[in-house]
Symmetry: C2
Subunit: 231 residues, 2 copies
DNA sequence: ATAAAATATTGATATTAATCAACATATACT
DNA sequence: AGTATATGTTGATTAATATCAATATTTTAT
């Protein structure tokens, strides 16, 4: 955990384009008065599964991983999030418990908004509820895709999916440095670390990707798409 | 598909206790004017994945299965729903496409409500949006549980989960007749039909359950819970 | 009631992926 | 810089599960 600061105002924050679009200046001011910025160091836990969901977090800078702590200390990495992501979770309006953990992959700057204020604004402006509904549904669709990926594809298909996910949705580049460890990649694809490493090596040997340590370069995108599709 | 009828009114429908609680009589009347009842025969498809999401469906009578059509004709059964369930889906407010298919397991009576009317009422009464938000989040929590069940448990743990799910959440009885085929049970647990049958037989041989055709009786609930927990 | 079709069951075999163990490389700590 | 610790890599082995093939049972249609 770390220092408290107030560097910006909601009115000038680009997240205003996100679920907070459509809020009036007054509503944004309420938001502004009920938020606080927090910095986390790489590796620190932001939200711990099982604890009370009292705040949602906006990522202002840096990358985090969102993961379910499953059985026998095994994690399932649900997604990676970075700047402009807003992290709530399905505990909202249900039991107000975090149903996943969130950990900083890099140093991150965040903005915490308490759920009571959020609820207050939600009651003032129905756009907020609808925007959150939409955001949740987008996540729901992605979860369906993940269900199929994880339960119906073999390891190479799952690794191909993970590489395309990182390239297309996280880094927007075919060449990138990932803060994910090999274990994280294994947790993202629901396989053992050793198996993940082996598949990555296969892809490397087949010249589909290049990798040294944590730097990945996708050489043959089509091959990955094909491997992903065939399962 | 089947006949059109109007048997009841929203004001007297027990679903008014569900996401529609808190609606005014006027709002219920709008709902009532924009709904129609439809009967489906066992086996018929109510919603087909990929088609336009124009209506949500309420189940008035009977049982349905909700499943994702995945790769190579393999389905993943997400849940079973029966009386008083309301089926929307994550396409709502996103792309207005069905992201799963829904098929009748028995003859079913349903009530279809078009999404425009739903949206109209949502804008009149924020309770509706919040109720839907909550319902979606409950489903989200269940999906997280399913992720862990399907990706981190062995076959016997998954079958134990399925049996407990059917007994506790669908039939509310330790002895029940299921309309699910063996293939459906396999789709629910993400394994081959043959494997599902084998595990069921193991449970039967161990006197944990009794089964003849589609009639299941759970004899040793504790054993199932233990098998489910250990993964 | 009987034939045909669909669904269920069982055993043998092949495939996939996890685990275990050894070792290598990188990172953090005085 | 040098040791300790964590992370990554590789190969051998074991365990889990799918597939294939044969047969049985149930359901549906005539």
């Amino acid at each position: 955990m770390a220092k408290y600061s107030r560097k910006m105002a909601c009115t000038t924050c680009c997240l205003t384009q996100s679920i907070f679009r459509g809020l009036s200046p007054e509503q944004l001011e309420i938001l502004n008065e009920n938020r606080h910025e927090v910095e986390f160091n790489a590796g620190e836990i932001m939200f711990k599964q099982g604890t009370a969901l009292t705040h949602i977090a906006c990522i202002l800078q840096g990358m985090v991983k969102i993961y379910i702590e499953g059985l026998n200390k095994k994690n399932l990495l649900i997604k990676v999030a970075r700047e402009n992501a807003i992290i709530g979770g399905p505990g909202m309006y249900v039991d107000f418990i975090h149903h996943f953990s969130v950990a900083a992959l890099t140093d991150v700057q965040t903005c915490f908004i308490d759920v009571n204020s959020l609820e207050k604004i939600m009651k003032m402006n129905q756009n907020l509820a609808l925007n959150i509904l939409k955001k949740n549904n987008i996540q729901g669709i992605q979860n369906f895709k993940k269900f199929i990926n994880l339960t119906q594809k073999h390891m190479s298909g799952r690794i191909a999916d993970a590489l395309l996910y990182l390239a297309d949705e996280i880094h927007n580049a075919t060449s990138f440095e990932t803060p994910l460890s090999r274990q994280d990649i294994a947790d993202l694809t629901s396989m053992s670390k050793e198996s993940a490493i082996r598949i990555l090596k296969e892809f490397k040997d087949a010249r589909i990707i290049e990798l040294s340590n944590n730097h990945f370069t996708i050489h043959d995108r089509e091959a990955l798409v094909k491997i992903s599709d065939k399962g």
